[in-house]
């Protein structure tokens, strides 16, 4: 195969650019909740995001990446002309990246996930043939885009109702907060580690059995709960502030919990969204390094995930922190007791999707979770028109990504052929 080095360099650059964009823009939604609720300072949020986006992407990003890489397109059809897959994936990356830039500039509600999936489906259906698309899988992905916000909303509703029942609506919310918040921390820690381990950490040389995974997750959950309980005890309470708002101190207890859910959120986001950048790169790399042979079996090289993880963190540190600050100031409505419900519900849903290899939109999931809290009468005003905008984003993003990808596909084909 010709031009292999050029393909690899291009793939690396485009992938890095996409990952940078995700870090610069997308991470904000995942982290702003914690900043807006004042559970985290901006600096801490950025540090947490950097660490957990990286670990999420690196440890748990493989499954979704492999879906993007080989789940959407039926690669068998391409065995005769592997270069088409390379052009297509490069085109998809370019299309999604550029579309995101344009859409961000004009404030359109777009989703990275939707653009990359739209782009891949677009080039495959038009550039190769409608039968090249694995429509069953695409259908499942599209369905998950509807289901994931609903699931997150349901979990958030249940969580917030439980918080009301166990803590806020009781005679001594403070005492109950101190008692139950560590339990929620335990849940957060256990859930994230369980899903991560079940998906397998083979690619970093950790092969755990079922029992080992369970016990290790429970242990991690317990450790988190103890750390949380320690910090809750260290909070100094302020009687004066408590008079104007009875929940001022209770919220500070939830603030500790929110540090953990923020980690979970960043981890979940990294695990699902890194694939949007590196999935196509992985596909290109596997074609190029196998001398043009399209193989479904080859392991994904670890450096691809690493590239995505580094790209996300770079985008976050260079630009994302500004976006977090801006978004954070606009969502102060989500105090820790409500914000954590949203974050925990969304991160659970996203991590589960990552585990099953389904690319979903983290932001949409978070929106669903926030609505769930709203339905428990927990938020004083939600703008229902935004739900319409989210549907709009599906209608705009998919064809836009697809059309751009088709254009780039033909350009690349002409240039290299």
């Amino acid at each position: 195969m010709e031009h292999t080095t050029i393909f690899l360099i291009l793939a690396g650059c485009f992938g890095l650019f996409m990952a940078w964009g995700i870090g610069a823009n997308d991470v904000a939604n995942a982290m702003a909740t914690s900043v807006g609720s004042k559970a985290l300072t901006l600096k801490r949020a950025v540090i947490i995001a950097a660490i957990f986006e990286f670990t999420g992407a690196f440890l748990a990003g493989g499954q979704v990446t492999s879906t993007i890489r080989k789940g959407i397109i039926d690669a068998d059809l391409l065995s005769g002309s592997p270069e088409l897959l390379v052009y297509g994936m490069l085109a998809a990356l370019l299309a999604a990246g550029i579309w995101l830039l344009v859409a961000s500039k004009y404030g359109l509600p777009v989703s990275t996930t939707h653009s990359i999936v739209g782009a891949i489906v677009g080039f495959a259906a038009v550039g190769i043939g409608v039968e090249a698309v694995n429509w069953g899988k695409v259908g499942a992905i599209a369905a998950s885009w509807v289901v994931s916000p609903v699931i997150a909303g349901t979990i958030a509703y249940a969580l917030f109702r439980s918080v009301q029942k166990l803590i806020l609506d009781t005679a001594d919310p403070m005492k109950n907060a101190k008692r139950y918040v560590p339990v929620y921390i335990f849940l957060t820690g256990t859930m994230i580690s369980l899903v991560t381990m079940f998906k397998g950490l083979k690619h970093i040389g950790l092969d755990l059995s079922k029992t080992e995974s369970y016990s290790l997750s429970l242990a991690i959950g317990l450790i988190c709960a103890f750390i949380g309980a320690f910090f809750i005890r260290k909070i100094s309470f302020n009687e004066e502030r408590n008079q104007s708002n009875h929940f001022h101190d209770v919220e500070r207890v939830f603030g500790v919990l929110m540090v953990f859910t923020a980690c979970a959120m960043a981890f979940a986001h990294g695990s699902n969204d890194v694939a949007n950048a590196v999935g196509p790169v992985a596909a290109i790399v596997s074609v190029v390094t196998n001398n043009g042979e399209i193989t479904q079996k080859s392991m994904m090289p670890i450096w691809v995930l690493l590239l995505g993880s580094v790209g996300i963190v770079a985008g976050l540190l260079m630009y994302g922190h500004k976006v977090i600050a801006t978004v954070g100031t606009k969502i102060t409505e989500l105090t820790p007791s409500r914000g954590f419900c949203g974050e925990l519900a969304a991160s659970t849903t996203v991590v589960l999707a990552s585990g099953t290899g389904i690319p979903i939109s983290t932001t949409h999931t978070l929106v669903g979770a926030v609505l769930g809290v709203g339905f428990a009468r927990g938020i004083s005003a939600l703008n229902l028109r935004m739900i319409g905008s989210i549907f709009m984003s599906w209608i705009i993003t998919l064809p836009a990504g697809a059309i751009l990808a088709i254009i780039f596909f033909y350009i690349l084909k002409t240039v290299f052929a």
Binding site: A24, N25, A28, N29, A32, L101, A103, S104, K105, Y106, G107, L108, P109, V110, F160, R161, Q164, K165, L168, D169, T170, A171, P173, N245, H246, F247, Y319, K322, V323, T326, V327, K330, I331, E333, L334, T335, S337, R338, T363, L366, V367, V370, L371, G374, A376, R377, G378, I379, S380, A381, L382, N383, L384, R385, M386, I387, S389, I390, S393
Partner: protein
């Protein structure tokens, strides 16, 4: 690139904070009636006039908050409280400030002095009516906590107690009003009939302060019951 953020846009502007700011202004406005009537009783019309200006300014500020809130409460907002209840409470609160303005306006315009024999009874009545509006303020100030607790549990019980307290205060103002009217009846024949008619009007309007405060509390109770 920051405009891209549609996540933050799902949060509408909360009606709770403006509602609380509004009642704060309304109470400040009503409280001006005390220095105002003190000036009236001591026949210092100059001081009364400046106090009344202050009162009217506060009423205008409250009106601004009211108009802002009314403009920013589109029907596409999804809220834990009924949009109609919010507007209703706002109207009632507005009504309290308007009454305070009417009371001061009428007495100042007609330079109505209170007969000495009822002035202290009237001041007692006025202060208790203002207490009722303050109690309504206390209850409205719990709205944000109510939103956190989903209008249930201990917080809801606490607010119910506040509203009960408001009912008790309002009941007291009714009793005071009865004695005040009896006192006034004794001396009314010595005064000009027109003054008497208007003084009864002032007493009635002052009582309205407490009545409206109570209605505000009732509306709040409806929100709890939803």
């Amino acid at each position: 690139m920051t405009q891209s953020n549609y996540f933050s846009r799902i949060f509408g502007s909360s009606p709770v904070t403006p509602l609380q700011k509004h009642i704060d202004k309304v109470v400040l406005c009503v409280e001006e009636l005390i220095p105002y009537f003190e000036a009236v009783i001591s026949n210092d019309w100059e001081l009364a006039a400046t106090t009344q200006t202050k009162l009217v300014d506060l009423e205008n500020e409250a009106d601004e908050i009211k108009n802002d809130l009314r403009m920013n409460i589109p029907s596409s907002l999804f809220m834990p409280i009924d949009r109609r209840d919010v507007l209703e409470v706002l109207d009632l609160q507005d009504h309290i400030a308007n009454k305070a303005k009417d009371i001061s306006g009428l007495t100042l315009g007609r330079k109505m002095s209170l007969p000495e024999s009822i002035s202290s009874a009237y001041m007692e009545f006025l202060k208790r009516c203002i207490d009722a509006t303050r109690q309504a303020q206390v209850a409205i100030n719990e709205l944000d906590e109510l939103v956190v607790t989903g209008f249930r549990g201990d917080e809801a019980i606490r607010v119910k107690k506040m509203i009960e307290e408001l009912h008790i205060i309002e009941g007291e103002t009714d009793e005071i009003q009865v004695t005040l009217r009896a006192e006034f009846y004794k001396v009314e024949k010595e005064l000009s009939p027109i003054d008497v008619v208007f003084l009864y009007k002032i007493i009635e309007w002052t009582g309205d302060l407490a009545d409206t405060a109570q209605s505000t509390g009732n509306r709040l109770q409806l929100m709890l019951a939803k």
